[in-house]
């Protein structure tokens, strides 16, 4: 079973390498797998632009994501809990959310640059927007979907509002909060790369890196960079999933 999973990708890579070797596709459009590996090596030891190494690009990108994502979680989860808890607050906030939510995070880039300038704040703000809504909405639905009988059971055990909030609504919403956090980081990570296309001040970032590789005509480094972006996104999701299954063993 495990072995079969790798069969198709492996076959594709072999065909791909073959097509490149007999020069059916020109390598300035689609470099071969071997060239991409070499490009990856260049990203590591030469850097794009030279001196700006891959690990620093990764660290800067992660830094931006962590900043925006942390803000989205710290605001989205408590706000979602409150909104799920209080019908009034939900009714007041909903129209505003409905208007703001459909605006793609990337459409905020121009105004973000105007507000925060080019740099970390703009990028973090874009990530924040991408991650905030899935986290908020899933938290709300997590609270709303808690069976009312559990709240009543807590009341018959003489729970005060504080107890109901902390001992029923919060733990009951955790599975849904995790769903929101996983969607949120996914969207945040995608938005990040696009946000970096529009400019970074520090000269670091994975999106910035692959745009620079395009400027200097290095498709091998572009594709290697894309793979790195994908793998990191996957690793983040795996990490969150591990956290999720550890936290909600009761499901």
């Amino acid at each position: 079973m495990k072995k079969e999973r790798f069969l198709l990708p492996l076959l594709l890579i072999v065909i791909w390498q073959g097509l490149c070797t007999i020069q059916v596709v020109p390598s300035y459009k689609l470099p071969s797998p071997v060239e991409i590996i070499l490009g990856f090596k260049d990203l590591l030891i030469v850097g794009v632009p030279p001196g700006n190494f891959l690990h620093n690009h990764i660290l800067y990108s992660l830094y931006r994501v962590v900043l925006g994502y942390a803000a989205a979680s710290l605001l989205g989860i408590p706000l979602g809990l409150l909104m799920g808890w209080s019908g009034g607050l939900l009714r007041i906030m909903r129209p505003l959310l409905e208007v703001v939510r459909p605006i793609p995070p990337l459409a905020w880039i121009p105004i973000a640059i105007l507000w925060f300038g080019i740099g970390i704040k703009s990028a973090a703000f874009i990530i924040f927007l991408g991650a905030f809504f899935p986290i908020l909405l899933n938290t709300i639905s997590g609270v709303v979907s808690i069976h009312p009988i559990l709240i009543e059971a807590a009341r018959t055990l003489h729970a005060k509002e504080k107890d109901i909030f902390l001992k029923v609504l919060l733990p009951g919403a955790v599975p849904s909060i995790f769903v929101g956090m996983r969607i949120g980081i996914g969207i945040g990570w995608m938005t990040l790369v696009a946000a970096e296309f529009t400019g970074v001040k520090e000269g670091y970032g994975l999106g910035y890196m692959i745009m620079t590789a395009r400027d200097i005509q290095r498709p091998d480094e572009i594709l290697a960079g894309m793979l790195v972006i994908g793998v990191i996104g996957l690793l983040i999701d795996i990490g969150l999933r591990a956290m999720e299954s550890r936290t909600i063993r009761w499901k």
């Binding site: 559990l150 807590a154 009341r155 018959t156 055990l157 003489h158 001992k167």
Partner: protein, 255 residues
């Protein structure tokens, strides 16, 4: 010393005037402390609503509930409730479910854990204290739910068809178990069921409700001792009495 229901009525207000549902009509009854009282009646007649009012989950439209002559506040510490669907907190283990009430009360961890462990023993749940509800059978879940309620030492225990979703063997076993526990504790129990068999086996007294709006149409005292033989002549006799009252009520046209 008793639990008194004084003229309890409940009307659920509808969206439009005249759309309200009249559920309880002047329920008046006095239950001596420590009695096991079952309430039977047509389904949807308002038995559950009565329990919910006593538990403080619902407000009566009129009337009041007194315990030992004093009015009870909503959600009083003296009342506990067991739900039909168990209503266990799925994210809490058996132990954590049972100690939830003590936790809310602010009892320190060591102490509440020790008390909860006693209940785990009494309720035959040893070995399952760290299981989550989804890992337990229906009978076990209901034992956890009962323990969670009784650990608070309520003087009045409300049970809303607690064994309604169990198979009949488990149900019989739990009825016997409940009696053993109750005989040691002497709480007042108000037990809603539509299983007449169960009511006869368990109760000191059976209260029969009418169709909606519910009134008390019959009160039967059961004097013979426990443990009772479900198939004995006297049990059959009581059962026949209750069933006859219920049948007549079902035949009665809507007034």
């Amino acid at each position: 010393m008793s639990l008194e229901l004084l003229g309890l009525s409940k009307i659920f207000i509808g969206r439009d005037p005249g759309e309200g549902v009249h559920v309880l009509d002047q329920i008046e009854h006095r239950i001596e402390n420590g009695r096991f009282v079952s309430i039977v009646g047509p389904s949807g007649c308002g038995k559950t609503t009565l329990l919910r009012i006593i538990a403080g989950l619902e407000k009566a439209s009129a009337g009041e509930v007194l315990l030992d002559g004093k009015g009870m506040v909503q959600g009083s510490e003296e009342v506990g409730m067991v739900f039909q669907e168990y209503a266990l907190f799925p994210w809490r283990t058996t132990l954590q479910n049972i100690e939830m009430g003590l936790e809310i009360r602010g009892i320190e961890k060591e102490k509440r854990r020790a008390t909860a462990m006693e209940y785990i023993k009494t309720f035959d749940l040893i070995g399952f204290e760290n299981h989550y509800p989804r890992q337990l059978s229906g009978g076990m879940k209901q034992r956890v739910a009962i323990a969670r309620t009784l650990i608070m030492n309520p003087r009045v225990v409300l049970m809303d068809e607690p064994f309604g979703s169990l198979d009949s063997q488990t149900r019989n076993a739990l009825q016997e178990f409940l009696l053993r526990i109750w005989e040691k504790r002497a709480d007042t129990v108000l037990f809603v069921t539509h299983n007449v068999d169960e009511a006869v086996f368990l109760s000191d007294e059976i209260v029969v409700f009418s169709k909606r709006p519910a009134r008390i149409i019959k009160i039967l005292k059961i004097e013979y001792p426990r443990p009772r033989d479900r198939t004995s002549e006297e049990c059959n006799h009581t059962r026949r009495d209750v069933l006859r009252v219920l049948e007549e009520e079902m035949k009665r046209k809507e007034s």
